[in-house]
Symmetry: C2
Subunit: 594 residues, 2 copies
């Protein structure tokens, strides 16, 4: 039961100097500073009553008078207790002599998880009682004074890693769950990684951090946007899904390089592992092409990657949309393992096997295979049966082979084969997406594959006027271990082209976007950008089962805050200034009955 010495690992290299280097120069400076002043950077004990954190004490502190503040993790036989803060654990000896009776009383009577402040001397543990598994295991604190800062009532669950809690309970008492090692690690890693991204963007490459509004106009077809009633009757703001329009307008405004750690909103109702509000690293640049954005992001991830993980190798491989579909059966393949899809049509061109002949005789008919290495050795009869059933269940879905590949990987792993190394981070760029897709409701009409501001591939511009369906775009996705963690595009900067695509090809009402079209008319530079999904990225980096584990106060999958009971009802008089009334579902049923 101890905290690993993770914090120094996490913060090491934090203060890398302002130049690109693989050598962590500040690491050595930091160590030399440490030797001379016995102070760490960051200074976790500045401005407060404690002199040190619990977790930082070592043999080098022997003989020092220290003041510590923390939570009582546990106590044994009224002889010692373990004190915990965010930095780790330290053993505190409860004094037994008469003269220290009041100190003893405080430390023996305070319930577990009470907050105490103790002052005393750092001493060696008696020979043979050192704990090599505990970073502070060579020392203990001989207490002189103690103060109970706050007593703790009986907890709804124990704050121990090995105690399993339901997620609902964790969310209801989130402030207790946050005391766990894993949540402390996840939130601090997130903060560190974002800080390094900011250093890279702002200090190394001249990006400007600009805040854009979240009370905005609804976008055409923005059915997933939360509404915010205004005090003007019938007028609403919308909470935008991304700062897309603003970032483009900033480029028109000559800001040149924009970034923002942007809060975004999407109302998708109940969906597992989605959040109604989420965060993206939002980037836009002028005078850039696709390879420029790709290099920027590769450098960004390399620079900000946590020091306790293997370094990121750049450049990332790139595949076209057509290639990933053919090779992996999905546009976000997990490239940590092989088992690629292989076209074996030619082998069977002269086959007499009926169902293969049938397949090959159809237009675009092919026969494809996935080779499972040593599959015969690892997979059992019932595994084969389950693969067969899976294929039957998903028959005629073009993503079948991609899903089958993952299904086979799952089966192999349950049989003990390590296919997807959790310490491996396999990045992939996917490029050359189609610009348009047939509309689901009406396949003869087109809709944007991503969004209507995406520029067409330079070689395919002529297709816009002849066969727009075949035009590729300058959109790119960044995929990590089978998850889309980012996407962006070079944008249209020509007002005429943008109008043609919006009005003629997409048949959108351009009036709602007139400000953007007008902006393109007034000297818009060529520009492009990208957005990284921060929650998902941190989730993958920390190996967390859910994005809720990398967000301090997440909503449940139904969009509820279980701690405070949110959303909640509002008294009618508070709705009045916004000129809205609640229409209960029964009302509308009654209306229909009319």
């Amino acid at each position: 039961m101890y905290f690993p010495s993770w914090l120094s690992q996490l913060y090491r290299g934090l203060s890398r100097p302002i130049r690109r280097t693989t050598q962590p120069i500040w690491g050595s400076l930091y160590r030399s500073l440490l030797q001379s002043s016995q102070r760490r950077i960051p200074e976790f004990s500045s401005f407060v009553v404690r002199t040190n954190t619990c977790g930082e004490l070592r043999s080098s502190h022997l003989g020092q008078e220290v003041t510590l503040c923390g939570w009582i993790q546990y106590r044994r036989q009224n002889t010692f207790l373990v004190l915990r803060d965010f930095d780790g654990l330290v053993q505190v000896i409860i004094p037994q002599d008469e003269s220290a009776a009041s100190v003893k009383k405080i430390l023996c009577e305070a319930p577990v998880e009470s907050v105490v402040q103790v002052s005393g001397t750092v001493i060696s543990r008696p020979a043979g009682q050192e704990n090599p598994k505990m970073p502070t295991g060579e020392i203990e604190i001989k207490v002189k004074t103690a103060e109970l800062l706050n007593a703790c009532k009986k907890l709804p669950f124990e704050i121990k890693n090995f105690v399993k809690k339901t997620e609902a309970l964790r969310l209801q008492y989130r402030y207790l769950d946050l005391r766990s090692f894993q949540m402390q690690y996840n939130l601090r890693l997130r903060s560190q990684m974002v800080m390094k991204m900011r250093e890279y963007l702002c200090n190394l490459h001249g990006f400007v951090d600009i805040e854009t509004p979240t009370l905005f106009k609804r976008t055409p077809g923005g059915a997933k946007e939360f509404l915010v009633p205004s005090r003007e009757p019938g007028k609403f703001y919308s909470l935008p899904q991304s700062p897309q329009q603003f970032k483009q307008l900033l480029m028109v405004g000559g800001l040149d390089r924009y970034f923002q750690v942007a809060r975004c909103y999407r109302d998708e109702g109940s969906r597992p592992d989605r959040q109604p509000e989420f965060t993206q690293i939002d980037i836009e640049m002028s005078f850039v092409d696709q390879t420029g954005i790709q290099s920027l992001i590769e450098g960004l991830l390399q620079y900000s990657w946590p020091n306790d993980k293997d370094p990121v190798v750049v450049p990332f491989p790139t595949m076209t949309f057509a290639e990933v579909l053919a090779t992996y059966g999905t546009d976000k393949p997990d490239t940590r393992f092989g088992m690629k899809i292989i076209d074996i049509s030619d082998v069977f061109r002269n086959t007499e096997i009926g169902f293969l002949q049938d397949a090959l005789s159809k237009p675009h008919g092919t026969v494809k295979a996935i080779c499972i290495p040593e599959g015969a050795k690892y997979l059992k009869r019932k595994d084969i049966e389950s693969i067969r059933n899976f294929a039957a269940d998903h028959f005629n879905q073009c993503s079948l082979l991609g899903k089958l590949r993952l299904e086979c990987a799952d089966l192999l792993e349950t049989r003990g084969v390590v296919l997807r190394d959790p310490t491996l981070f396999s990045f992939l760029w996917v490029v050359d997406f189609p610009l348009f897709l047939p509309k689901e409701e009406n396949p003869r009409e087109l809709e944007s594959a991503h969004h209507p501001f995406t520029a067409p591939h330079p070689s395919d511009i002529h297709l816009l006027y002849t066969e727009p369906k075949k035009a590729r775009s300058q959109h790119y996705d960044l995929v990590l271990n089978g998850n889309e963690i980012g996407g962006g595009s070079i944008r249209i900067h020509n007002a005429e082209l943008q109008r043609y695509i919006l009005a003629t090809l997409l048949k959108e009402d351009v009036k709602m976007l007139s400000h953007l079209l007008q902006a393109l008319d007034y000297g818009a530079p060529p520009h492009g950008g990208i957005a990284l999904g921060l929650d998902r990225l941190i989730c993958l980096v920390t190996g967390s089962p859910s994005i809720r584990d990398v967000i301090a106060f997440p909503k449940s999958f139904r969009g509820h805050d279980l701690m405070s009971n949110t959303p909640d009802s509002v008294p009618p008089e508070e709705l009045k200034p916004y000129h809205i009334r609640v229409s209960k579902p029964t009302d509308s049923k009654a209306e229909r009955a009319h």
Copy 2:
């Protein structure tokens, strides 16, 4: 007509190393890097087609082949043009020889504010034609190739500093207004200052940057909170005015030191120089007292203060609420100048002047004066008259003397006396505020002077049970040049005390805050914090007339986005999923008529 060489000034010292020092060590490294590689840090031209920015070119670049991208600022007689980017201006010579006819055509025909890319050689300007007022005034570009990246249509106004525009026009075409020197400077300074704040908090002092939700529960009495309808009938989220509850819960969760550049929301209807969404530097710490927070903030402002301003001197002076009221007649005094309020009651104790006698005979009756230095020399008869009228208009308002002091300062300044030096930044802490105020609607009941989580002054806890009106709080305000730029407090960490204040003294419904009260029961550490109003602070630092000048896309004072016409109406079918209906004012009148 030129850009000052402001950018290097702004970015200088940006990359201060991770230790506290007054010596800008990186400045010298940066210069040595510059000499060896001719590259600036930040690298403004990484990942893009240009080799340099327009504004960075100097004699040291002579003979270099460069590629520049920018906007045509103006053109003279088809012989040269001035190209502009975010970094400044550079002169480009239009080639006149036949072989370069196509280049000439492009550069002569593109309208002003069109975007062009040019490649050529940096050459000296002919002797006598250097422009010492222009940072790039020693050189010009001899162009070889040019490309028109985007033509500009006729503009609604000229992008020149001296061209006066109405604010409505500036907001309607915000993307053009952003090209002005002032907006570029303001937004870049804001980004820089926030970046340095992050370095100080995160890298130097171990704060964790944690994002808290903006879709939350409405707070008791939170009448200024925007509502967000959810898909559950009659249930709403609220957009909170600050992350107050979350930051306290993070301390209960053991996060120890939290900060966030937090988006906050306040629906105040139409108020000049307020915004419905605004940004605060939000901070909370465990095991800290008032002086700890004060030192932290003094260090924060000193560290992040722009290099083109005089350094901030710390510590800031501190006055009690009672002192500032007595001395300046306001709780946010402008301490750049004297003219303090002096109690001269004793002088008139034996006076026979009737109205003074009257005043002194009343309970707490005093006679107070403001001495205007050399007033007799500067103020004219009509000034005295206007002071007299002002006093009469504001008679019986206890803030009269404070207002009168500012009125006199205005008058003196119109007469040419410099009282409030615009380059001077005068900080002041105001402490020992009252904990409660009498309720406006019912003066026999109490309401919190700030918020109900504010801890009482340690010396006044007993008063809570006897004379709560007299209890002082541990709230503190930070005042800069007469503006409140921050406020915070040590919080209540004892659940019993918090319940007593909420339920017994304030008579609030504690059910809505049960999660917070419960959290205090489970080992909440002593904690406190502060929030700085970022928009106001940047407004003062840049000397801008309005906070709208330091926000990229502000709302008008009526809460409108004039560029996109926000807020806007929403088709009824998009309201349905949220179970709300618009009740037009006429409807409710009709209802009343019923």
